[in-house]
Amino acid sequence: MTRDIAVVAFAQTDHRRTSEDLSEVEMLMPVLHEVLDRTGLKTADIGFTCSGSSDYLAGRAFSFTLALDGVGAWPPISESHVETDGAWALYEAWTKLLTGEADTALVYSYGKSSPGSVRDVLTRQLDPYYLAPLWPDSVALAALQAQALIDAGHTDEPALAAFAARSREAARDNPHAQLRGPVPHGDHLVRPLRTGDCPPIGDGAAAVILAAGERARTLCPRPAWIRGVDHRIEAHGLGVRDLTDSPSTRLAAERAGAFERPVDTAELHAPFTAQEVVLRRALRLDDTVCVNPSGGALAANPIMAAGLIRIGEAAARIHRGESDRALAHATSGPCLQQNLVAVLEGDPR
């Protein structure tokens, strides 16, 4: 017997280029309060808490321990942490709720990219013996992928520019976005990618609340039911992967039930324009699907929170009645190495 589990609330910060004036805890606190307020729950009412973040962004070991102070973990709480995007924290919380050991879960994640050079920082997640010593940065690796897609005839530079323009136009309606409206497409940063093909670097946090069964209905007028979640990882070495494809995304989507019926909305975690080309093909999204109505990661990409935000944005559209069946995607690692897909549905209207 399985349980129905839903996203019942979502909150996020305004994403900004820098938040020097705030500690991570100070950045996170308002989001935690907001998401709890939306359901009327208090920390002590939550059955399980799980977060996602990265010490390398904070520049110190055990940075998540201080964020826990912001949650107010007293009396002690049942809690865990993943050292990656909060979408995977949501996955851990979802499995916890499936076991029946908890009926509600708080999931949050955050990242401040502003204190360092995020392009340099992300090189440290590469193979430490063969790849990391060469310091290939995240934009250079994404450019390799973009060039492979152009060479394969899947896209071209004007098409990529159109992805960027559409995303930032959509972000006009998103008060939290960092980049919105007409954004200059700019010069080449690493060919073939121009600045406009790349995500903004910024700080931000997000939180969602999950609830099981009838509990979800009491907390949210139209819960976003999680019909399936799955995530898959690929080989790390870029030389052994076809960068024009994402078999892990396709497999995760299949296992999450994404192909069983059409979706009307897709929130994709594609920090670089060319990655949307890969994801659209892997997820079989055509023009009938509203892709990234929030503006996506091209409008705001707080690392470690951007994937959780995709799930939150998809759920929020269901809450508001703007979607009946939505797909949310999160990614981790260079050139879409690891991918998570969640399928969310509202009750029939």
Binding site: T65, T84, G100
Partner: protein
Amino acid sequence: MSKEPVAVVGIGQTKHVAARRDVSIAGLVREAAVRALADAELTWADIDAVVIGKAPDFFEGVMMPELYLADALGAVGKPMLRVHTAGSVGGSTALVAANLVAARVHGTVLTLAFEKQSESNAMWGLSLPIPFQQPLLAGAGGFFAPHVRAYMRRSGAPDAVGSLVAYKDRRNALKNPYAHLHEHDITLEKVQASPMLWDPIRYSETCPSSDGACAMVLTDRAGAARAPRPPAWMLGGAMRSEPTMFAGKDFVSPRAGRDCAADVYRQAHIADPRRDIDAVEMYVPFSWYEPMWLENLGFAAEGEGWKLTESGVTELDGDLPVNMSGGVLSTNPIGASGMIRFAEAALQVRGQAGEHQVDGARRALGHAYGGGSQFFAMWLVGDQPPDA
């Protein structure tokens, strides 16, 4: 709601040493994983998902190393989840993996935790910068020594108790081929004559810095029925966290630890842990934490834990053996240390613990903690499946 029972059918660990210069990080983790698969008589193809944990990424200087380790752990095309809950991570990682089986999301899961401490200096990796923590907080010992002092003052424990624990654990380690420290000439006098590092903690009462990995294969009822060796059954498991510092925090006996143990005992129908549990692997990085955790985990009344230690109850041949493997005091690849506790508890109830086997161990507790005594993870395993 019914949960799927979770069984441990494979356990593997590396020989823990100060520096494994002969292998990469990938080579280290693969060694433990291959041994766990061999113990379960399974292949990589039998594994549905991988759950991996380690303590801070700064210890090896690799951000999110699970990305690079996907190939080495046969995870390509599979779900791979990374857990990080400070020193308790090895235990939390096993519990997250167990939940995947309990929730019936996956049938068979490989879980693994590791640390290759020789890649850096954990002492300074653990010395957090001001203004976040108090200054002059040199490593974990600097943080924990005042709390040991508080325990001694509160309980009236004699000064010698800490050295008794270290002497016991180091002797137990001689029976464990995987333990890092094999001090064949250990004596109580040597422990007591070792240099004072963080008063009252002496050099020989602290854990070493180790390179090592530990892996387990967890599976469902059907998987357990096919297992070649007796499985260990998970009878209860829980995590609890509390804030790092606040006015009401009891560093000697944190409430999160007490609540976590109570939850595990409730799940496992343990009425009296002292009587109902046969062996304990607890996270004791500094010797005095044995008596402190005996109280926190409900094996002794407040202020009485040191009496169990002093009277020999926690010796390998005692009434309640603690850290039969030699414990964290003999082996400490930080990120793996919690999982080693969980795995050693499972080895005991499977009857596979070799020279450090406790005769007739039917129920064993694995315990881990981390951060500023704020994160706790525990499981209780038995030789019989849960009744439910």
